[in-house]
């Protein structure tokens, strides 16, 4: 027996609203894809799809961590810098072999996340400001490592690490599969483990959660560590893909990550959200970018106007569906 015998009208309405809430972004995505397919013949080409998926994969990895953070009612502005730092560390580490290239960024970026988490959980400082500071810090660290950006570390083309970013399965890059696996695991962690329940409880009602015995501090520390680690991983994958530790990437990426998470239906105030929604959010943003490119003749200045308008339409649409 899964439910009480007689769901009331209230409950049925609530259930229906929930379905729409969940699928608001999905509906928007399906519409966008369908229209793009019809209007732009090249949109649906397999090459374009592969590229879309690959570009989306890096963002998905970052946004996955951000989803957890946002569900606890927090925010992580440092992911863009940490992502760039992760890439530089991976490229630097690649001269010492595959393992160093992969582990070093995860550890360092995880540490930055850990410090974020500790500061937020233990001192009651606003996540926005703590992670804003680490945004600066990570960028500074990156500049130190690269001699004020003068050095770009290259990854030897024959290094096994490059394969991680460049390898494909029937044309689809490894990062796509890595992101997919992470999402499945992330979804399971969020919905099917005690830690996941704690994440929801922390963001839903922190005071109550404390009284219910939820380890708030530990949960927060964990989600920020996770977010840092995942941003580092995305950076490492990007470095492998680009074959170098590019220093200028990731600027403003935190806003993209936040936007996709929120578009995916996760409440910025915490307590509610899904991994699938985030994936759909990434899909939407990437399709919008892709469509702007398909239009082709668009003046570069109009491109951001169109992106802004699209973003607006999606959030308004979602909001209306939610009512």
């Amino acid at each position: 027996m899964m439910t009480a015998e007689r769901p009331t009208v209230v409950q049925k309405t609530a259930a229906r609203t929930k379905v729409l809430q969940r699928q608001g972004a999905a509906v928007a995505l399906v519409l966008m894809v369908a229209v793009s397919w019809l209007v732009f013949p090249r949109f649906g080409s397999i090459d374009n799809m592969r590229d879309l998926a690959l570009q989306g994969a890096f963002l998905v990895v970052i946004a996955l961590g951000m989803t957890f953070v946002i569900i606890t009612g927090g925010i992580d502005l440092s992911v863009g810098s940490v992502y760039a730092l992760g890439g530089v560390l991976a490229a630097w580490g690649s001269q010492y072999g595959f393992l160093v290239a992969l582990v070093l960024p995860l550890v360092v970026c995880g540490l930055i996340g850990l410090v974020n988490g500790l500061l937020i959980a233990r001192t009651n400082m606003a996540p926005f400001i703590v992670t804003l500071a680490s945004l600066l810090f990570a960028r500074g660290l990156l500049l130190v490592i690269t001699d004020e950006g003068a050095t770009t570390y290259q990854i030897p083309a024959d290094s096994a690490f490059v394969e991680l970013g460049r390898g494909t399965v029937s044309g689809f890059g490894y990062p796509i599969f890595i992101a997919a696996v992470l999402c499945v695991v992330g979804g399971a962690v969020l919905n099917r483990t005690g830690f996941g329940q704690n994440v929801f409880a922390t963001g839903g009602a922190e005071q109550s959660a404390i009284l219910m015995g939820v380890p708030i501090a530990r949960t927060k520390v964990l989600v920020y560590t996770m977010s840092g680690t995942l941003a580092g991983l995305a950076g490492a994958l990007t470095a492998a893909y680009l074959q170098s530790g590019v220093t200028v990437i990731g600027v403003g990426l935190e806003l993209d990550a936040i936007a996709v998470v929120v578009i995916g239906g996760t409440l910025l105030t915490g307590g509610m959200g899904t991994v699938l929604g985030t994936v759909i959010g990434v899909g939407l943003i990437k399709v919008i970018q892709n469509v702007i490119n398909q239009i082709g003749t668009l003046d570069s200045n109009y491109q951001s106007v169109v992106s802004g308008v699209f973003l607006l339409i999606v959030v308004v649409l979602q909001r209306i569906l939610r009512r």
Binding site: T123, I129, L135, G140, Q303, G308, L312
Partner: protein
């Protein structure tokens, strides 16, 4: 009610004092450091420079403080500055007054639009204003056809270069606006409604407060103030530069507000704290430049100072 002056309460009072006044202490410490260790710091010219550079940030931060007071945030301020900058050359032909009025109108409209999205449509502030952050600068570039425009109207340029009784006009305007916002927060119903909406929106609604009007008003004010900052910064630069005007201003303003002791959770606005938050961040930047630190170290030091300042001012559980 029993009141006791135990050691515990005295410590509590002391931390409370530091929490409330941390930003002033920090400004004092930094000033002292500079007086001791920075060449040519104690000059009128230098202080004028710091104030002039801080003025646009302060004006934006004042609006941001109000928005944050309602438990919101306005990411679009930099883009609004760019829009204001782009508007100016279009109307400068009709005189500087006309150009400034049009820039302000655009700022108010942009802000009211944000407010409408937040209040009426019910979109979360970060996302609602993110749309304008992305699109607004694009719009500014479209208006200006992407180009930086050199300005030559002497009356308009005077706004950025002239002084009254030795005080630069932009500093006067910023100071005046700070006073106005302080009065607004402390002496008017609107001010009280702002913190009430930020403190508990549901309760404010049930108390019959004009919640939507307050929200739209606050965002419109933020837009207007951003436009004022855009106008002043443009006249100082002597050029309309929509591509770079106000870039990352949203983060500077938010940092200053929070460092000044206004919590991001809303329900409280500290105007004087915001002023000092802006001054603190300005001094930090100036100190780092004057000591010729490389960008890498400068960024890390800024991070550390932000953390330290907010750590002191944090709300204890």
């Amino acid at each position: 009610m029993t009141r006791t002056a135990t050691a515990a309460t005295r410590t509590a009072a002391r931390t409370r004092w530091l929490q409330d006044n941390g930003v002033y202490v920090a400004v004092g410490v930094l000033l002292l450091f500079n007086v001791l260790f920075t060449a040519n710091f104690l000059t009128v010219g230098n202080f004028t420079t710091q104030l002039v550079q801080a003025a646009p940030v302060l004006i934006v931060a004042l609006g941001m403080a109000l928005v944050i007071g309602t438990e919101g945030v306005d990411l679009s301020v930099g883009a609004v500055m760019a829009m204001a900058a782009a508007i100016i050359p279009l109307y400068l032909g009709a005189g500087p007054f006309m150009a400034i009025v049009m820039a302000l109108v655009v700022g108010v409209l942009a802000g009211a639009f944000n407010g409408f999205l937040v209040a009426r449509v019910g979109i979360q502030p970060i996302v609602a204003t993110l749309a304008l952050l992305v699109g607004g600068r694009g719009l500014a570039l479209v208006i200006a056809d992407g180009q930086l425009v050199q300005l030559h109207d002497p009356a308009f340029l005077a706004l950025g270069t002239d002084s009254v009784a030795g005080v630069p006009i932009s500093v006067l305007i910023a100071g005046l606006l700070a006073l106005v916002v302080a009065a607004l927060m402390n002496r008017t119903t609107f001010g009280r409604q702002v913190v009430a909406v930020g403190g508990n929106r549901k309760a404010a609604t049930l108390a019959g407060l004009p919640v939507n009007r307050v929200l739209i008003g606050v965002y419109a004010l933020s837009g207007a103030l951003a436009a004022v900052a855009g106008v002043l910064a443009t006249s100082r630069l002597g050029a309309s530069d929509p591509a770079d005007m106000g870039l990352l201003m949203e983060l500077s303003a938010i940092t200053a507000v929070v460092v000044g002791g206004t919590p991001l959770t809303g329900g409280k606005v500290r105007v004087l704290g915001t002023v000092f938050g802006v001054v603190l961040m300005q001094l930090v930047r100036a100190t780092l430049i004057k000591h010729n630190l490389p960008d890498s170290i400068a960024q890390m030091i800024q991070a550390a100072i932000i953390i330290a300042a907010v750590y002191v001012a944090r709300e204890r559980r």
